[in-house]
Assembly symmetry: D3
Homo-oligomer: 128 residues x 6
Amino acid sequence: MTGDRAQWHRDAAAVRARLHPGSGTSALSGNAMVELAPDFAAVLGDWAMSRYAGDALDLRTRALCTVAALVALGEDRYTQNWIGNALHAGATREQVVALLEQLEVYVGTPKAVNAFTAAKAAFDEHVR
Amino acid sequence: MTGDRAQWHRDAAAVRARLHPGSGTSALSGNAMVELAPDFAAVLGDWAMSRYAGDALDLRTRALCTVAALVALGEDRYTQNWIGNALHAGATREQVVALLEQLEVYVGTPKAVNAFTAAKAAFDEHVR
Amino acid sequence: MTGDRAQWHRDAAAVRARLHPGSGTSALSGNAMVELAPDFAAVLGDWAMSRYAGDALDLRTRALCTVAALVALGEDRYTQNWIGNALHAGATREQVVALLEQLEVYVGTPKAVNAFTAAKAAFDEHVR
Amino acid sequence: MTGDRAQWHRDAAAVRARLHPGSGTSALSGNAMVELAPDFAAVLGDWAMSRYAGDALDLRTRALCTVAALVALGEDRYTQNWIGNALHAGATREQVVALLEQLEVYVGTPKAVNAFTAAKAAFDEHVR
Amino acid sequence: MTGDRAQWHRDAAAVRARLHPGSGTSALSGNAMVELAPDFAAVLGDWAMSRYAGDALDLRTRALCTVAALVALGEDRYTQNWIGNALHAGATREQVVALLEQLEVYVGTPKAVNAFTAAKAAFDEHVR
Amino acid sequence: MTGDRAQWHRDAAAVRARLHPGSGTSALSGNAMVELAPDFAAVLGDWAMSRYAGDALDLRTRALCTVAALVALGEDRYTQNWIGNALHAGATREQVVALLEQLEVYVGTPKAVNAFTAAKAAFDEHVR
């Protein structure tokens, strides 16, 4: 089920092609982990993205759930990146806004406001 | 769009009827907030649950996103409750497990393991 | 006790007039939540600020407690904003400093140092 | 201003006598830190409690602010203990409830519900 | 450097044999993640434990660093487990206590007290 | 064992001389806490740094454990500062990278990536 590294790499590449249609590369992919620990980052990235390839849930639902988790963690840059991914996976802006409204009561207003800031930045990027 | 309290109450009641088909009442509803601050709890509960009534996202997707946020917050009792809600909203156990596998890389293993414990408890409850 | 939306709006307006004597508007009020979800933000803002209107606690005590919660959450921009609110509600700089000294042992030094940075920024703003 | 250890000990003892009128000892005082690191725990306890002795803020306000920070940290046992301390410092139950209602919007519902549970336990203890 | 799954499994097994000399199995190994997602848990466990096999740092230092991270995360059950692991890797009780004293100023007293409780439980287990 | 303030000051000065060989002063020492609460900051700083002077653990191990706690707390500026301290205490870059790889599974990828960013900044500073 979880396969081996070669399968993770293929599965992850297929997911990346859908989420980053232009480049196949996330805006977060040029980070310091990749620079300082390239082998580690490659395995971790393939392993993580391959989880999105399973049939149990569609990619749009998965991306929205990742947004929800990142909002709750308060990881604003990741939230922005995954809102962009959710849009590429077929989510609409209205859906993202509805999700953030729904989450406020659990995560509190400061994290919710930060998430709306991330959404606005992702929406602006997505236009271009 | 956000309506007034009477509308929130109606919308929330409709959501609760779907998530708690037997009783229309959440297992978390008898809490100390309700006892010590009943008016506040009533408004907050109606406001929160009415957010789930919007057309932008289906209830199953919304419930899974709430699970994702609660896993990230480390709120295990709420996670268990919302995994139960997700099952009532049409999610399968396989989908819940796939979601938790996907979230581990963001929230870390300790929170993920706690979430699987919550899932197991919710699955056991759902049988009955 | 918790009233309806019209009462929340009146109560919140009265609180805002005391906390933001010049404009009646918080420095955080022009945020992305207001832009992307204006109805939601309006209800949430009135509901949240109306809680400060109750007689049970005076506004200065309430503002200092909110500062304490925000320091613990590590929400530095909100901390700065509410330290400013506390000053407008009658707290002195000496009281804010005493509060942050008291909180360090619970929240740890990194959050406490960030809170002092927020306090310095709020103190500088308050002069002007 | 911050004095030396002997002064901390005197100041802390005076604070403890007000917060724990029967015994002068907190319900949390018999913890594993005291057992495994007694010298460290003694210094830390005196340092921490001596911060409450300053004139800048009254003890009731300080105790309520500590409650606010602990609610935000999600430290339920400490929250219960400090709600008890706040009652001994002159706060009323109505004030504690009003504070928790006010904090919900910042900390989110799960932490707020946990805080109400802690309040109920502290109120029950305080009767006895 | 990061190898393949077979190498992770061998490396992880070697680490486990040192940390759990009796059984080669962690007290946390029978968890709900293993039950609900056995393939996922097997890969994750081998990947995670294989990181401890590298030559860059000795196992005792690594175990103490993991304890530090878990104390900061507030994951008490994991903290207890890894304090046990640190003892098996050659750390002394005095070293664990010194570490927790050192960490208090960063993580705050509530998390530090919880960590001492975990340490006491781990020390008691280690005797047996 | 824990001594008095004069001893803390001597012990802390000895630790600082090793961690900041040029100046004896941390890059974080000119912060707003020092400015707004100088007496408090002086006591807290001496107390905190004196904990590193004990014989139970060597300074390199202590610094790496502090890095681990700060990564878990998500305090990136402190993480960068303490990675620099760890290098001055004798840790190598390879050891820091190995530690961050090991921690990812507990703290999650977002915090780990932020920690690698902090490490890169600390490595760049250390060259100069």
